[in-house]
Structure formats: C-alpha cells, structure tokens
Symmetry: C2
DNA sequence: TAAAAATGTAAAATGGACTTGACATTATAT
DNA sequence: ATATAATGTCAAGTCCATTTTACATTTTTA
C-alpha cells in the first residue's frame, strides 16, 4: 500500500527512528510501511496520523480498485 | 476494539450478511468486529467507513490508553 | 406457533503485520 | 576524508486478523 509517511516525516524533519519510537513500533516497521512492503494495522495508522496531526486518509492511500483486503 | 458498526448498520437497516457482502468479507468477520473480538485491518476499516459514508474515526473507537498496537 | 431470517459460537487453518538482530549502503557533518 | 547518523536488506519467529464450515440460539414474520 502506498503512503505519504516519508513526505510528512521529511516535512517535519523527523527521522524514521524518531517516528518509530513516537508510535511505539520498530524502525523496521516504518521502513516497511514507507517502502510499501505491507499495510499498517488500523491502530498504527491512527497513531501515525495523530502524530502528524492529520487524518488517516491524508497519509494512507486507498487504491479503490486493487484492495483485496 | 470498540466500534459503532452495529449502530450504523441498524440505523441503515442493513443485515450483517449484507454488510459482509458489501465490503467483501465473511459474516464471521463482521460479527467478530461488532463483538470486539479483534480489530479490523486498515483497508477493511476504510471500506466499512466508506460504506456508511463516514470517516474511519466515526466508526472505530480508539482508546488512546490501552492501544498496544 | 411454526418457518425463516438474523445473529451467535467454536475450532482449525492461513496469511500477513510486526519484532528482533545482524549487516550493508547512503547521506551528513566535522 | 572519516566518523556518525540515517536508511535499507534479509531472514526467522510470533501473534492475530480473516476464512471456512458446521451448528445453536434469538428474532421476525406469516
């Protein structure tokens, strides 16, 4: 799944490690999300959105078509 | 996790099966979500919210405290 | 009040989200 | 130029979201 995590992160001059700590996951998790390796859980998505003070839909991009789940 | 799925569902006079079909999951999944057995995935949450034409945060209730993930 | 529809429970299987740890590469700063 | 910070890769392991199937209970309706 495609996200705007790295855009928001760079805009706020936040490092992957900092974001990871802030939302309580591993750096690996942030890397994998940014590189589209897998999809965030609902709670993690919510935490990340909250961290950047935006809505979930602002960061996570839903491709209405190919969303198998 | 707590949700307002059944509220929205009843308000719209939609059956669990209908909702399940609409968002392309099993009836079991809807039952389990409504009864707080587990948390929806991000994509499923998005689909359900879209189905009811509301935001994810309107249906899924995040208890800032005890959210382990 | 009986048939049908809606909701629920149980249990086993699968896939994927997230972790951990170790190492490689790229950017930044001194 | 070199140390350090930041980003990335790989692989194995755990846990839980979701499926499937089959059956039980509750609610609705004729």
């Amino acid at each position: 799944m495609q996200t705007r995590i790295s855009e928001y992160r760079k805009a706020g001059k936040i490092t992957q490690s900092e974001l990871a700590d802030a939302v309580n996951v591993t750096r690996q998790t942030i890397i994998s999300l940014e590189n589209g390796k897998y999809k965030a859980s609902l709670v993690l998505a919510h935490k990340i959105a909250q961290f950047f003070k935006v809505g979930i839909d602002d960061i996570f991009i839903f491709n209405e078509e190919e969303e198998n789940l």
